[in-house]
Symmetry: C2
Subunit: 396 residues, 2 copies
């Protein structure tokens, strides 16, 4: 038995971790644009990266470390993805860390993470200015969470305190960014999770892969996959506490919360919709349908228009390539049945009820395929004018 | 040797075919909404339908005919897709044709095709009114082409006259509709092709499948697949002329032209862009990349914004799951190189040149993966505010 409590803030509650965010002029509006997260003692690292084959320089840099390496420092910049920059992009990271070591000699196996425009070299001079601006003893989660934002309209962070029955409490804290390019293969975003749990390496891998599958990988804004997607889990064991089930559940809660925050902040999104698929032949097929729905432009524009046009839902299911049958299919918006074999036409009353549900900021579209017992829930948002405005102009 | 000439108009030039379009009040603005195409003599039929598993009632109705059946009549309505209507939807078609036979007794194995909203029964009373309004001796391609339009902003038709050297000339004519929901598995549209060539049944299948693969299946507006996609080829042999190579080439030209018209008319589209992929490991992989690019929201919004942000092109290629390598990749906008291994950063001069190309109404984005010899060209359009406006409101 255990209890999980959310705490206000995020990284500052996790023992032995420090962080700060500063502005060095990468963002023209003077907002924070470089951050660090560090630990007093060396941390185990667990990572999940983008499936994009053109992985950005910081990811290639990370992978040069030997397996099971430990680190005590993570540097993050916004406005430049350091992607498609070739060998020079990796050399730039080495140069930066050489310079950081002069200021912060304890540096061991430092990691970098970047987000922003593809195809430009890092502005090393500006980023290096952060080294004299950082307070290395700070626990400034707010400043760090703000520094990693790009098109995000709000900062994303969370802390969970886990209290195992008769055990030592431990914490998980995370800061996260993401708003556009959220995709099916892996939601395009950065998420940095730290924990003071005494986490065994094998458990970390299992818990993180389960958590990512049902959170970031179930979230979708536009179906594109970036070159920089990263989820990092740093654990320093400083609380001395641990409980396998409690940790797994807390990590799943934490990532689910942050993934939904990202979807809710989808570029120009006004709705957060859960696509709950049941009755598919397999869970793999349920996932395929759920993602097809959450990525369909015609579905997304219908959500934006608050139009209970269930035909687009049905058509997308039929096009998704899974086993389905219109005689066993049932579609509900929350608890309102909009389609099944005996009620194929939407009467005025049910149409009005469905339309009312679609006016809410969040709701569930439930599709029971009536074939087997596969289930999966994906999370998506609508697509409105703001998405086009942001992405037609975005170069930051 | 042969010559192929485009003629003004479409179906009216093809011997033995008649068509008309009338208004029966399905479209609230009083525009034509029901059309027929018929032949004096029985026609062979070749068809390609949507890969969507929820095929609309007219498609199910078609498939009930025995293989190699012949027909002399095709009825088409707009505003209602007759999809997800179950058995009732098929019975409605039978009832309509029973009533049409009273007016037009020569009817044999009639075919129906529908486009519009999913999930509503056909308005039989209104559609049946067309039977007394049609001029069954008309060659009114313009009227028929207009009747099948939905969100199309212009009508789509074409006629090609083929003159084999020392042979009898023959014709191919087509009317076509499509603007939204254009997708990778099969472009969502209706295309009705008629020919008076003395076309052998086996050649028809081969020529149509080749033509569709490189035209409608290479066209993409938004990646969705409708329940009603249909390409029909009716041949009545009335010209007595035929040449296998000439027919194949003419059919490919005809479908390519109409597919590009559909992309150009993509809902709210302002650009027509060819994604020409070369150097892929296989042609299948080239196709995968070409379609990923033409379907990517981030690419499409960048086209709309006229932003030479090649990073989005590269990122989409990397995410497409094909063999690729950023050291062999080369990206050009028309003849302007924007990325290769030695020129990774876009200098001001090349950026301005690329931006100038993107201001054109159509251009080619050429990606050479530098891996093998696979090639494929897909056609796409940009995604602007109009797309959102049309699809947030569309119920017609």
């Amino acid at each position: 038995m255990f209890n999980i409590f959310p705490l206000k803030g995020s990284l500052e509650h996790v023992k032995g971790f420090y962080c700060d965010g500063v502005s060095v002029g990468l963002k023209p509006n003077g907002a924070n644009d470089v951050a660090f997260i560090r630990s007093d003692v060396l941390c185990d690292v667990e990572a999940v990266f983008t499936t994009n084959q053109f992985q950005a320089a910081p990811i290639v840099h990370f992978k040069r470390y030997p397996e099971n390496f430990q680190t005590n420092f993570l540097l993050i910049n916004a406005k430049n993805a350091n992607a498609m920059t070739g060998r020079k992009g990796i050399e730039d990271i080495d140069t930066l860390f050489a310079s950081l070591r002069a200021t912060y000699p304890a540096l061991q196996n430092p990691i970098m993470s970047s987000t922003g425009v593809i195809g430009y070299r890092l502005n090393q001079e500006k980023i290096a200015q952060s080294f004299s601006k950082f307070d290395f003893e700070a626990k400034n989660s707010d400043g760090a969470a703000r520094a990693i934002m790009t098109t995000d309209s709000f900062k994303k962070e969370l802390c969970l305190r886990v209290e195992p029955e008769n055990g030592t409490p431990f914490h998980l804290g995370a800061i996260c960014k993401g708003a556009g390019m959220i995709n099916p293969a892996m939601a395009t975003m950065l998420c940095f999770i730290v924990t003071d749990a005494a986490l065994p390496k094998a458990d970390a891998k299992e818990a993180l892969s389960y958590a990512v599958e049902h959170s970031f990988n179930a979230a979708s804004v536009d179906g594109d996959t970036s070159t920089n997607d990263t989820v990092l889990l740093l654990s320093n064991g400083q609380s001395g506490g641990y409980d396998k089930e409690a940790f797994k559940e807390a990590l799943a809660l934490l990532t689910k919360h942050l993934a939904l925050e990202i979807v809710r902040d989808g570029e120009g999104a006004t709705k957060l919709v859960a696509f709950e698929i049941t009755g598919a032949a397999t869970s793999e097929e349920a996932k395929k349908v759920a993602k097809a729905l959450s990525n369909s432009l015609l579905v997304k524009t219908a959500l934006f228009g608050e139009d209970p046009n269930w035909g687009r839902i049905a058509s997308t299911i039929g096009a998704s390539g899974v086993t389905c049958n219109d005689e066993t299919l049932e579609i509900k918006y929350d608890d309102v049945l909009v389609f099944n074999n005996t009620q194929r036409e939407l009467d005025k009353e049910r149409e009005m009820k469905a339309a009312a549900i679609m006016k809410q900021p969040s709701y569930t579209i439930h599709c029971d395929l009536g074939i087997g017992s596969g289930t999966f829930t994906a999370y998506g948002c609508d697509l409105g004018h703001q998405y086009v405005t942001i992405n037609a102009d975005y170069r930051s």
